[in-house]
């Protein structure tokens, strides 16, 4: 279908941005850091916080906050893309690669369901979190991650729409089958590749 022209609509003249080639289709750059979540922000004290890898109702491995801090962390600069159409370029994070956590358990799972304080979940193929492109992130822009942005720790999976980067994450459930998480059950795409504009179910 050819898109009809919206009479009188023009691109705003704007300085040549550094965004060339970095923006997936349908996205626009924001310099804010908008917040998107379905409910109140949870506040779990660090002394109660753990990150667990579970399978079939059993906890295979669990880390306390100090134990996570002792793991080798990486500082990464990545572009993030929210399904609500904003993208934020060149964001800096510090966190532990998810691969480093998964490597400490024996498993042959194909999928994970990330689970968070507040009941949020999101599903990801194991290959998307084990290939050096996913982190358990706890610093943003050199500072501890703020609660409204998912602190103390969130997933960072920047190659997928940002709802896959679960805020307030507390662990991963290993699965041999794919199981839709929260937004995936409410009409959003199961995989969420921004470059293929997989926003909603069926995209």
């Amino acid at each position: 279908m050819t898109s009809p022209v919206s009479r009188g609509f023009h691109r705003l003249s704007r300085p040549a941005g550094a965004e060339g080639g970095k923006l997936p289709p349908g996205q626009h750059v924001t310099t804010d850091f908008p917040v998107l979540s379905a409910g109140p922000t949870p506040h779990t004290p660090l002394h109660e916080w753990t990150f667990s890898i579970r399978q079939g109702g059993q906890t295979l491995r669990s880390w306390t906050w100090p134990e996570v801090q002792d793991l080798p962390a990486e500082t990464v600069t990545v572009d993030i893309h929210c399904v609500t159409r904003w993208s934020k370029l060149g964001t800096q994070w510090r966190g532990v690669p998810v691969r480093a956590l998964l490597d400490q358990v024996e498993h042959d799972a194909q999928y994970v369901l990330a689970f968070s304080d507040g009941g949020y979940t999101t599903n990801l193929p194991v290959k998307d979190v084990s290939g050096g492109q996913a982190w358990l992130a706890f610093d943003y822009d050199g500072q501890p991650l703020a609660p409204e942005h998912g602190g103390p720790a969130r997933l960072l999976v920047p190659h997928l729409y940002f709802w896959k980067s679960a805020k307030w994450v507390r662990g991963l459930e290993l699965l041999d089958h794919d199981q839709p998480g929260f937004w995936e059950n409410y009409g959003y795409n199961n995989y969420g590749d921004p470059w293929r504009e997989q926003r909603y179910a069926g995209d």
């Binding site: 898109s3 009809p4 919206s6 009479r7 009188g8 626009h28 917040v35 998107l36 409910g39 909603y200």
Partner: protein, 244 residues
Amino acid sequence: MAGTAVRGRLSWQVATVAAVIEETDSVRTIALDLPDWPGHRAGQHLDIRLTAEDGYSAERSYSIASADGEPVNITVERLEDGEVSPYLTQELRPGDQMEVRGPIGNWFTWGPHDGGPLLLIAGGSGVVPLRAILRHRQRSRSSVPVRLLYSSRSLADVIYREELDQYGRSAEVNYTLTRSQPPDWGGFSGRVDDAMLARVAWPASQRPLAFICGPTPFVEAVAELLVARHYLSGRVKTERFGGA
């Protein structure tokens, strides 16, 4: 608690502007003629795509302002440095076309079967999806008790004021004006705080269902206050704005 799965792909369709209604100096409601609209539920949103003559296009999401079964309306607030909202609020006129797809989002929605009592808390143009919920409640003759607390800068910035004031006793509408109040103002003043919620919010013992929509700091603050008042996290639904 699986939501309603969206069947198939949401395709873009051509919408024609049926009417524009100026709500305030910076806010406009746009009625869309959408021949293939599959229907929506109160609280959902849609995507629009504008295409310029040179082929440049821009997409944005907007909350649907109308109730289930009503023609699709969106209400848009002008952001001065925005690319799309100044066009929609100043240039657009009846007969113009754009593309639309939706409806989207099955979480921040309400229907009579979801029950209540309902507490709707709006900051600025965050009132839009809550207005759809109020209208749907009214049109479906639901007896679920509802209270709206609507925070606005001034009385002149209140969107849908005439309509909201018509509810009378069937829906309890409370305003708080944060920047300026008329001399004879009988409503609340200032930001939503715990003292205000002590008067407006249903007691947690009634298991209220809360919907909060507005700018992020507003939503964060109000959600925290409700949780501190022992509202169940899972019954406090939030939707936030951000970006331009």
